[in-house]
């Protein structure tokens, strides 16, 4: 029995969101008389950080403290429409919608403040701490709370804004058929190192090193948690997970979490991640989306690493010990490739 080490690499080009029907999402932003703002969305936070990132985008656009913004994703029956939380579209699509809504709400807020301060709205600026003042004359100031109260009880205005992001229709070139199915792409490269046991076919992850280019990281810790966690979902897809291991024959399908294998805490390995920030021209503050792509490069990199380790090329997933052993047997033993 020998354990063979192998290293594999994969690069991906990942389109953010999709293009069906323009992939729209809407957002509504309004203030209440306390001067706090609510963002209404139907977009769902699955734990990936949608609420945090849309809250940041709204606060930054309005020019108010982030703690003054509340994001309500409670009900897709009553909220504005969203296509959903998938395809890494949340930050980009929903973020753009929130930005548009917050920009409109900011316009109304500045007009209402201008009326109270008896100045031109174009001469006003926000200080990001909950105040609006005349440029160059910070003593001529009013709090966003007082503006909200004046709008509600005196001026009869709603400080609110509507936003939608809709992907522009892509024209098809009549000569070549070429079109642009996505508006922005994220990129990644991942190197996986594995150890393959040529007697059992078992594969252990040894380490991963990756670089992700995902626009501006609007919340670096949330980006990091996505990339760290998502890589292990990728390993799950590469090595363990399937509802039908002998598809199309449904035999031996897993019935519970004991049989449906996923990486456990004992399977993980070190993973060094570098995040490269190249702001997207059409992203909210340059953001793209780290969602799905955090799992994607892992699969081909692991498949390549297994080939590098024992010389077998497995082209259907997951790469189980049984497949590895059969392939090693078919070629008459492990054939480690040159280390790269």
């Amino acid at each position: 029995m020998t354990r063979h080490r192998g290293r594999g690499m994969a690069s991906i080009n990942y389109p953010i969101g999709m293009n069906l029907g323009g992939d729209p999402s809407q957002a509504l932003v309004h203030s209440n008389p306390s001067g706090k703002f609510t963002v209404a969305l139907s977009s769902i936070d699955l734990g990936q950080g949608m609420k945090s990132v849309t809250r940041q985008i709204c606060a930054e656009t309005l020019g108010v403290p982030v703690e003054d913004v509340y994001v309500d994703t409670a009900d897709s029956d009553t909220g504005p429409h969203c296509m959903g939380s998938f395809a890494s579209r949340g930050t980009h699509r929903v973020g753009n919608a929130v930005m548009a809504a917050a920009r409109e709400a900011r316009g109304v807020m500045m007009e209402a403040a201008a009326e109270e301060l008896e100045v031109n709205a174009a001469d006003l600026e926000t200080d990001g701490r909950g105040n609006i003042h005349v440029k160059g004359a910070p003593h001529r100031s009013i709090s966003t709370k007082d503006v909200a109260i004046a709008a509600q009880f005196k001026q009869g205005k709603t400080i609110s804004g509507r936003g939608i992001f809709l992907v522009p229709l892509s024209d098809v070139d009549p000569e070549t058929g070429e079109m642009s199915p996505a508006t922005c792409y994220a990129h990644a490269c991942l190197v996986a190192e594995v150890e393959v046991d040529d007697e059992t076919g078992e594969i252990a992850m040894v380490r991963m090193d990756s670089a992700y280019e995902l626009g501006r990281a609007l919340n670096p810790r949330l980006v990091e948690q996505q990339l760290v966690g998502g890589a292990w979902m990728g390993v799950g897809h590469a090595l363990y997970e399937t509802p039908e291991p002998y598809y199309p024959d449904p035999v031996h399908g897993p019935r519970d979490f004991v049989e449906y294998l996923m990486p456990g805490p004992g399977d993980i390995c070190p993973h060094d991640i570098a995040v490269l920030e190249r702001p997207a021209p059409d992203g909210p503050f340059g953001g793209k989306g780290p969602g799905e792509m955090c799992a994607n490069p892992v699969l081909p990199a692991v498949a390549n690493a297994i080939f590098n380790a024992v010389g077998v090329r497995i082209d259907d997933l997951p790469i189980t010990p049984e497949k590895v052993l059969r392939a090693i047997k078919a070629q008459g033993g492990a054939r480690p490739q040159a280390r790269r």
């Binding site: 699955l46 734990g47 990936q48 950080g49 810790r221 949330l222 990091e224 948690q225 760290v228 966690g229 998502g230 890589a231 292990w232 979902m233 519970d256 979490f257 004991v258 996923m262 990486p263 456990g264 805490p265 004992g266 993980i268 993973h271």
Partner: protein, 158 residues
């Protein structure tokens, strides 16, 4: 069906309920006591999110017959917070981004508490073993392991 009277301690408080024979502890806690911090994941002992402490020992409440805990002391995540203050483990989970969707978190925290209560300075391998009955889809475990080690080392924010 005859109901069985059952008394036990729930997070330091005496409780008395009537359960049907065969009711599992998870259902008793969630539906009769009203403590929804232990989660229903698989109902078969495969995921760990229903984990509770029985007399300080880690158990899967979905596989525990309610009637077997008569007179015993049950701790759940609901009892972990000390008044308004988060438990150091909870603080460490927040600091280390050890939760995303949060569904595994109650079980992870109980498994971590069971470990630190008996072994305040665990090695990384001991932490990994302690949570090996709990599955997590979102985090990749690394932040959870780091959080538990941080709590054990007193490295938590105020």
């Amino acid at each position: 069906m005859t109901k069985i009277p059952l008394q036990f301690r729930h997070n330091g408080r005496d409780v008395a309920i009537f359960v049907d024979g065969g009711t599992n502890l998870l259902v008793a806690l969630r539906e009769l006591i009203g403590d929804i911090t232990p989660k229903f994941g698989c109902g078969q002992g495969g995921c760990g999110t229903c984990s509770v402490l029985i007399d300080g020992e880690l158990h899967l409440s979905c596989l525990t017959l309610a009637e077997t805990v008569s007179g015993r002391s049950i701790e759940t995540l609901d009892g972990m917070k000390q008044g308004p203050n988060l438990h150091p483990l909870q603080r460490a989970f927040a600091d280390n981004f050890a939760a995303q969707c949060g569904y595994c978190t109650p079980g992870m925290l109980m498994a971590a508490k069971a470990l630190l209560d008996r072994n305040p300075s665990p090695s990384r391998a001991e932490v990994v073993e302690a949570i090996s009955g709990n599955i997590c889809r979102c985090t990749g475990y690394e932040p959870i392991i780091n959080a538990i080690l941080a709590a054990a080392g007193g490295r938590v924010s105020a």
